[in-house]
């Protein structure tokens, strides 16, 4: 698994590992998909996403927050990332899934103990999700 859940008294803490920075964002998508995939869904949707951030750590939190927002406000149960590009200003992607009522478990991602750093030949990141 490119991600694992860490014990946290009140919230959910997520550790991500990948061989590339882009892989960290993909792993984050997979973790959020696990949390949001229980709901019943209807018609298929593809939602284009653009997230801007001052640095990669903040960008990661904002990316996970964007997925939580799409679930809560638009009812998107994500199942596939059809495009993901990192550029200097942020990331651009397209999220596919079904429209429905995803579990309302995670409301957003915080900047608490936020990490995004090179480790060996890859990358590791940590983010605390707001439950």
């Amino acid at each position: 698994m490119p991600y694992r859940w860490i014990e946290h008294t009140g919230e959910l803490e997520l550790e991500l590992e990948a061989s590339s920075a882009r892989g960290i964002f993909e792993a984050g998508f997979k973790a959020m998909r696990e949390l949001m995939s229980d709901g019943e869904g209807g018609r298929r949707l593809e939602v284009p996403v653009r997230v801007v951030g001052t640095d990669r750590a903040a960008l990661l939190a904002d990316w996970l927050g964007e997925l939580a927002f799409l679930g809560e406000a638009r009812g998107l149960i994500p199942d596939r990332l059809s495009m993901l590009e990192l550029d200097e200003g942020g990331l651009r992607g397209a999220v596919q899934g079904r429209q429905g009522d995803p579990p309302h478990l995670v409301k957003g991602a915080t900047y608490h103990r936020l990490r995004f750093e090179p480790v060996g030949e890859g990358w590791r990141a940590r983010v605390v999700l707001d439950v």
Binding site: E7, T9, E72, T110, R113
Partner: protein
């Protein structure tokens, strides 16, 4: 933390010189047992981080229910100077003005009898839980603006929802000054507009209770509470709207830290001078979200009265009065010791004493009502604020029992269905959309509320007025 030392019976302190970046001491209200539990998670380190905020004054405080959060610990209090100090969205939290409203019905639990099952069912049908983005009370455009500016008053004046007495019996009259709908992002409006009158998820609930024991007869009488009476406790907040306000301003202030010359040990403490554009805009947006939260609990209470009318009868619904409504996630500009301070309460409740001009006239003889929900299946408490809270804690007490087990650990110890059965066997009717969510809120995941409240009383911050026992729960 080795620098923690006992300074009074139930007050502990980490001195300001424990870390080079702390500006004030960090103080913890706890007894020996609670302090051990508090030291086992990251809350003390988080409290010391809060003590580094520019303009923080006197001491930062942890209530006995404190636990690890993000940025601020949950159960943390910090006051900053309005002139020269900062405001931190993380010091309020994502669920701006999450809080509790208590209603008291004119009947006893015995008279309610088995109709409690119908009542729980009616409440669960009429108060949407989960994301709840399509609430029948959802608002947009100018009607949403009116709620953001005036809170529940807009609903009473224009929609006939609730009463003027409900407003009088709400902290700050249910309206913070300075709210500006223009300070909210479009996304905040989109996210929250459709959620008015909804419970949300996590630890939010509507609980039907019985007054199990009266500790202070004079105060209980003033609050309209008597032994055996049925009460309804509502716990919710500003939903996605408040969450988005916090998200937007943590990000905006994080990007402006360098410009303001602020260095922080944790990015979630992101903050800005109160007098800066970021600080002013945040306080205007936070006030709007707080007003929305009061309107949300007000709408839920209206629906609960409707459920009471259907399950028990219209006269009982008509006679169901609001005891009070308190916020436990908010920053407010208040005067303490002749100074104008911005008091951040994150998972902490204002508890003003008898005589305070900021509490309803009818309660000035006994002090402000404070509600401390316990975990599902255990007791909740009604307290009344005391003078010593003004000297010791900026007029603040705890907000609940406080988590002691992670959500994962709670799920490992019990299955939702099993917990539901146990609660039903104990005479508590439960409605919950999710078994996973139910297991995460298991009673053993929280500290003992009796112990938390005992510490608050021993510290002289508030007194116990009544204890409430649950007989029905609708979980968010």
């Amino acid at each position: 933390m080795s620098d923690l030392r006992r300074v009074e019976d139930v007050l502990w302190e980490i001195p300001a010189d424990a870390r080079a970046d702390m500006r004030v001491p960090a103080r913890v209200f706890a007894d020996s047992e609670l302090v051990e539990a508090i030291g086992a998670d990251g809350s003390l380190e988080q409290l010391c981080n809060v003590a580094t905020l520019p303009g923080v004054t006197d001491a930062v405080l942890a209530m006995p229910d404190v636990h690890q959060g993000y940025g601020f610990p949950v159960g943390g209090v910090a006051a900053t100077e309005v002139e020269g100090g900062v405001v931190s969205p993380g010091g309020v939290g994502y669920d701006i003005n999450c809080g509790v409203r208590l209603l008291a019905a004119p009947i006893g639990a015995e008279e309610l009898g088995e109709r409690r099952v119908t009542l729980v069912h009616e409440i669960s049908r009429s108060v949407p839980a989960g994301a709840g983005r399509d609430s029948p009370s959802g608002l947009a455009g100018p009607r949403l603006d009116a709620v953001l500016v005036d809170g529940p008053r807009a609903l009473v004046d224009r929609g006939g929802i609730g009463t003027a007495e409900d407003l009088e019996l709400t902290e700050s009259g249910g309206r913070l000054d300075g709210a500006d709908p223009a300070a909210l992002s479009e996304r905040a409006r989109e996210r929250g507009g459709g959620q008015l009158g909804t419970l949300g998820s996590g630890n939010h609930f509507v609980e039907i209770e019985r007054v199990d024991e009266v500790h202070d007869r004079e105060a209980a009488e003033a609050f309209g509470l008597r032994e055996g009476q049925v009460t309804v406790l509502i716990h919710s907040g500003s939903r996605g709207l408040g969450h988005q306000v916090c998200t937007d301003f943590v990000k905006r202030m994080d990007a402006a830290l360098g410009r303001h010359g602020i260095r922080l040990p944790d990015r979630q403490l992101s903050c800005a001078p109160i007098r800066s554009a970021e600080g002013r805009d945040y306080l205007a947006a936070m006030a709007a979200a707080a007003n929305f939260a009061w309107a949300n609990r007000h709408t839920i209470a209206h629906r609960v009265r409707g459920a009471i009318a259907r399950a028990v009868g219209e006269p009982v619904a008509q006679g169901t009065h609001q005891v009070y409504d308190v916020a436990h996630n908010v920053a407010k500009v208040e005067r303490h010791g002749g100074r104008e301070l911005c008091v951040h309460r994150k998972g902490a409740t204002r508890a003003f004493p008898p005589g305070s001009a900021d509490i309803p006239e009818r309660y000035r003889g006994v002090g402000q009502p404070v509600f401390i929900p316990g975990s599902m299946g255990t007791a909740s408490y009604v307290l009344a604020g005391r003078y010593r809270a003004m000297e010791q804690s900026f007029g603040t007490v705890c907000h609940g029992a406080g988590r002691q087990l992670s959500r994962t650990a709670a799920r490992k110890r019990v299955k939702g269905a099993e917990l539901r059965r146990t609660l039903e066997e104990a005479g508590i009717t439960v409605r919950s959309a999710s078994n996973r969510g139910l297991a995460e809120e298991a009673p053993f995941a929280y500290k003992e509320v009796d112990k938390v409240v005992e510490v608050v009383e021993r510290a002289g911050l508030a007194v116990r007025v009544a204890r409430l026992r649950p007989i029905g729960v609708v979980k968010g």
